[in-house]
């Protein structure tokens, strides 16, 4: 089976399969369609508390399927501004709508311009996904 993965053009990505949407002063973070499909049914997320300080590419929580646990990595450093509380009772939103209703946290970035260059744009992420392991 060859899955097709959605990779929106307006987002930035990590090699750990998080996406981030950069808006004025705040960024939204989730996991990519590829990550959601590879994990299969997401049944539990362990999330940070609001105001927690995150460091770029360090772990801020976990996402779990029936069988596997994966770390979540912060695309950018900053403070947690919001956590998607819907996911507590409806973790399946991450599978159903990874880029919209299944968002995971919002971050108030501390060094957006300095750190952004470490992220992949949609073309780079697509190339990363299709490169051999």
């Amino acid at each position: 089976m060859r899955d097709q993965y959605s990779i929106p053009e307006d987002l930035y990505y990590t090699k750990e399969h998080e996406w981030t949407r950069i808006e004025s002063g705040i960024v939204t973070v989730g996991i990519t369609d590829y990550a959601a499909k590879t994990l299969n049914d997401i049944v539990y997320l362990s999330l940070p508390s609001p105001d927690q300080d995150l460091k770029q590419l360090s772990s801020f929580g976990t996402v779990e399927s029936t069988k596997a646990v994966s770390e979540l990595y912060a695309p950018l450093s900053g403070k947690v501004a919001a956590v998607n509380s819907q996911l507590v009772n409806h973790p399946e939103l991450v599978n159903q709508s990874p880029y919209d209703q299944g968002w995971i946290i919002k971050i108030r970035p501390s060094d957006l311009e300095g750190e952004k260059e470490k992220l992949l744009d949609s073309k780079q992420y697509a190339a990363f996904l299709s490169s051999p392991d």
Binding site: M1, N40, D41, V43, Y44, T62, E64, S65, T66, V69
Partner: protein, 368 residues
């Protein structure tokens, strides 16, 4: 990597992964949906990777009686039984299903253990007049599981499935294939496992046709659902929950030992070990978080009492559930325990599996 006769279907429709040397489907669409299909309706699993071996000849019963603690001589032909291959220390070499047929025995063993099991049985068989035949590569095996297993399988089957009692088997045909039909499985549900003879990877058309026709009414399920179903039913997996160092008493599998049976490999060691257990297999339900293999089990006051050997999310309970080994002093049902999930403690309690309500799910549901 090896492929089963149904590989083409898996490659076209499933997410594949290596398991015991075979390229197997992890899931087709959704592990949770496949799991629930088996609990509520019917699911089909390709279990062709499991080892299938016949023992025939004048001493077949003597050989089986030597290698397992369940008495083979008292079984009637037509009986299927779950049992264990034991080593001289009473440890578990493998868990398996044995079918006693009119001509001998058919053993179904774990894929990862087939080579080890065969060499063990072969070395014991040197004292006996028995012919061992490995038919794994020349046959296909499909599990049809769930409360609607009979309606799914009956249209393809030459035998009246309602007459096949649980833990018995009959020979017949399924589709175009000569088949063995056994009313067994490893999901907690009612159902059948069918072995289609003369259908290996190179002549798989009859097996493919059976699978395709079954899939019209029963949902194809991968290894993900197979694992979550067996954990939810409290059934041990070799390599995770039991191994060469586990004895049947601590694994809560001593019911396979036929009372007063002696003379089987491991019997002397077991007579001693039954007296003093240092750990016992139990279920744990967590109120939050998901337990995983290797996580520590403690008392609420942080005293370590055991370890999780299998853990998953239960789609029926919508909670994390575990199979664990705990100190017998802390093993009573309802005992509050903690499981260390990464840095934090998750609240749970000791339970006697299966984890689901047996009035609502599992093969006993209509028997109440």
């Amino acid at each position: 990597m090896k492929q089963t006769p149904l590989y083409e279907f898996h490659a076209n429709h499933g997410r594949l992964a290596e398991f015991a040397g075979y390229e197997m489907p992890l899931w087709y669409t959704s592990v949770v949906d496949e799991h629930l299909a088996v609990r509520n309706k019917a699911g089909i699993f390709d279990v062709s990777h499991m080892g299938r071996v016949t023992l025939e000849g004048p001493d077949a019963t003597k050989l089986v009686d030597r290698v397992v603690p369940t008495s083979a001589s008292i079984q009637a032909p037509g009986k299927s039984f779950y049992t264990l291959l034991l080593n001289p220390k009473g440890g578990i070499i493998d868990d398996l299903i044995i079918m006693k047929t009119d001509t001998g025995y058919l053993l179904v063993v774990n894929a990862a253990n087939k080579t080890k099991d065969l060499s063990h049985i072969q070395s014991v068989s040197e004292d006996y007049n028995v012919t061992i035949h490995d038919l794994t590569d020349s046959s296909t095996m499909i599990a049809v599981q769930g409360p609607e297993a009979i309606p799914a399988l009956q249209p393809l089957s030459s035998v009246d499935l309602s007459q096949v009692k649980r833990y018995t088997h009959v020979a017949g045909t399924v589709g175009r294939s000569r088949a063995m039909i056994t009313r067994t499985g490893y999901t907690g549900e009612d159902g059948f496992e069918i072995i289609l003879y003369d259908s290996g990877l190179q002549n798989n058309s009859a097996a493919m046709q059976v699978w395709t026709e079954l899939s019209a009414t029963a949902r194809p399920c991968g290894l993900g659902a197979r694992d979550s179903l067996r954990v939810e039913a409290g059934l041990p997996l070799y390599g995770s929950d039991i191994d060469d160092s586990t004895n049947p008493f601590e694994a809560e599998l001593s019911w396979v030992i036929t009372k007063e049976k002696t003379g089987y490999i491991g019997s002397e060691a077991l007579a001693r070990s039954s007296l003093s257990l240092t750990r016992i297999r139990r279920g744990i339900v967590l109120q939050e978080k998901i337990p995983r293999h290797g996580f520590a089990v403690t008392t609420p006051t942080d005293e370590k009492i055991g370890v999780v050997t299998s853990g998953t999310f239960s789609p029926i309970l919508k909670k994390g559930v575990a199979i664990a080994y705990v100190n017998p002093a802390h093993s009573r049902t309802g005992e509050p325990v903690h499981v260390t999930v990464r840095e934090s403690q998750a609240n749970g309690s000791i339970t006697k599996p299966p984890f689901y309500d047996e009035n609502l799910y599992g093969w006993k549901r209509h028997k109440q």
